[in-house]
Symmetry: C2
Subunit: 390 residues, 2 copies
């Protein structure tokens, strides 16, 4: 832990500067820049130098960063294309939720953990962090491949499923399972996502030109886009899904309407804020937890399970699409990022997870995130794009 | 005070949405959008609706917003042009510091306040908040007028002078005046500002092309600009001047080097973050303080003094430049914004200022800020730009 908090400009300099420095080194080594930025977080964080620890301000910048990241990805894809792959994506998401859950649960039971702790670790393995995959695919210009579209759609569905699992697991931990409440949560989240994906673009295409023609302030189109972004992110939270799902759906709804200026201005925000999201992931890594051998072994087992079960589970869901696509999709669904951490944190605050197991889950989340862009680079090896940064 | 803190996306929606809504209404009424955004802050803040209160996250976004605002303004002006008006600007800044200080001190003494409190209120009237003026001039495309250049240069010098006054006043309040330390602070701050203004552009023009040719990551030029922005802001804080002075000097240093892409991406960040700075000013207004008549009278007296003394003081400094320029410059130096609040806050934490007088200073800071864009609109009335938002 750092001895003191830095003033804002110093913290910005350390976080942003180190992200771009290590990112540039990774690019020179023909490795994905975003992996470099996560590594930068691990270096300046408690694990190595201890200059920066997670705090409220960095958390806010990171949350804002991942919202804009998903918004930007949404802007780049068409809702129609995503809906076309909806069936496959649902299958990919569902099987990709079931397999990791039971694998995580089984490993913890075999390790001797109590029932509730095992269930929580299983739940933490469920939800894919769409941010990392989306960022890697977007940076390589691959968002329009069918496999990418399935990954994006599946990751969104996955988040809804993860929410249902989390609701079920939490009520299981408190001892009173309220089926009606879980069903209500599930219904609300599903309705929100489906309605926006299906009719969001049409609604925006009808309503927005009206606003644009009336607004007189400069850059009004960008302001209206941001208001929609914040509104849907907030609404998403109230329906229970992650704010970033709302951000993605906002981008999706605007994808046919937003002009080049809106995209450029969004890009500016992303260039500033996304490093805070990536560094934030690295900051959470705390290797000091692995001083006992048994924890280290558990961590490696859980990490292996996290990778293999998504590969197999999501791959199975996409079985009909040919070997190449199966591998791409399976790998794209591997990163757990912040979603797994949130589940583990909830378990920690409910005192059903030990700090040791919490550390293991965080390690799994960071490690799957680090490894995914590298896996994707191999899976999507496109000769033309070989030298482009991921 | 709000009963609870909103989740991030909801807070963003309320702050950003209300800023843009009230801003748009002001534009429709042919009033400056930025005044609307400050008013939005007063409406959603503790004064009226009480939805949002200042907190750490909003403070960070606001600080980042004003840094980017000054950075953007710096990008738009040339250091050479600012240095040309350096003599006049120094005179404007100096007389514009002396007159308000003694006026504030005299009013408080006449009101019956103790010596230290009067000195602190005098000090809080000293420094111009360059953010508001710069934003108003920039939005109207007036940054290249001679009067604007003098205002910008004087506001920067003013900040250095304000720092010296603050150092002197603080040591006066603690009872042991350390002349050597004050001189050291003054020297360091002056050296930092002068060196960067004089040689910053040349240094950047020499060094940056070297970096640009080597960097391979996408948007590397923007990343390098941001690193310079954060580095100079941090350095400014350590030499004692405000971070925003460093941000301005960073923009100034880059003003010949930055291409259209860097400016567009910076604009995107500004469009998102500057409203948080403006709303943040409005949030600080708390009208409930003025229930006693004597406080209300004091507040109006201080407000009048704040406006008149800068008009006269800065006008005197620019006396040789013709009546029109004298009025423009005097009005441009009126807003105190966050700088006055910081002095008052320090007085409050040192227990030499009462909460009542603190409220008066905050009121003065917000009110001068609200009134300046309106004054500037009149002073800079340029027929061609008549309908452009300020």
């Amino acid at each position: 832990m750092p001895a003191h908090e830095f003033p804002l400009p110093v913290a910005l300099l350390i976080v942003f500067g180190s992200a771009k420095l290590v990112g540039e080194i990774f690019v020179k080594l023909r490795q994905p820049a975003l992996v470099g930025e996560i590594v930068a977080g691990a270096i300046i964080g408690p694990s190595v130098l201890g200059w920066i620890a997670p705090n409220d301000t960095l958390k806010a910048l990171s949350d804002l960063g991942v919202m804009f990241l998903l918004f930007d990805v949404g802007l780049q894809v068409k809702a129609r294309e995503l809906l076309k792959v909806g069936g496959t994506a649902t299958l990919v998401a569902t099987v990709g939720v079931i397999v990791p859950f039971f694998a995580g649960w089984a490993i913890l039971r075999a390790w001797g953990a109590p029932q509730t702790e095992a269930v929580f670790v299983g739940a933490s393995l469920v939800a894919t962090s769409v941010g990392i995959t989306a960022s890697a695919l977007s940076a390589r210009g691959l968002l329009h491949e069918v496999a990418s579209q399935i990954i994006l759609a599946a990751a969104v569905i996955d988040d809804v499923l993860g929410l249902i699992v989390l609701a079920a697991v939490s009520s299981f931990a408190t001892g009173h399972v309220n089926v009606l409440e879980i069903a209500l949560t599930a219904g609300l989240a599903t309705a929100f996502t489906v309605i926006l994906a299906k009719w969001g673009t049409t609604a925006v295409n009808h309503v927005l030109p009206h606003f644009h023609s009336k607004a007189e302030a400069e850059e009004a189109q960008f302001h209206i886009s941001l208001v929609l972004l914040f509104a849907l992110s907030a609404l998403a939270m109230y329906t229970g899904v992650a704010a970033i799902v709302g951000a993605f759906l906002a981008g999706l709804a605007l994808s046919e309407n937003a002009d080049a200026r809106v995209r450029d201005l969004t890009r500016g925000v992303n260039e500033l804020l996304v490093p805070f999201f990536l560094v934030g992931i690295g900051l959470h890594l705390d290797l000091s937890l692995f001083r006992t051998r048994s924890t280290l072994i558990l961590a490696l087992l859980i990490l292996a399970a996290a990778i293999v079960t998504k590969l197999i589970g999501c791959g199975l869901g996409a079985a009909g699409m040919g070997w190449t696509n199966v591998v791409k999709i399976g790998m794209g669904m591997v990163p757990r990022g912040e979603v797994g951490m949130v589940v583990a944190q909830m378990g920690l605050s409910m005192a059903v997870i030990s700090t040791e197991v919490y550390g293991v889950v965080v390690f799994m989340a960071v490690a799957t995130t680090l490894v995914t862009p590298l896996l994707l680079k191999v899976a999507f090896r496109a000769p033309v794009l070989e030298n482009v940064e991921v």
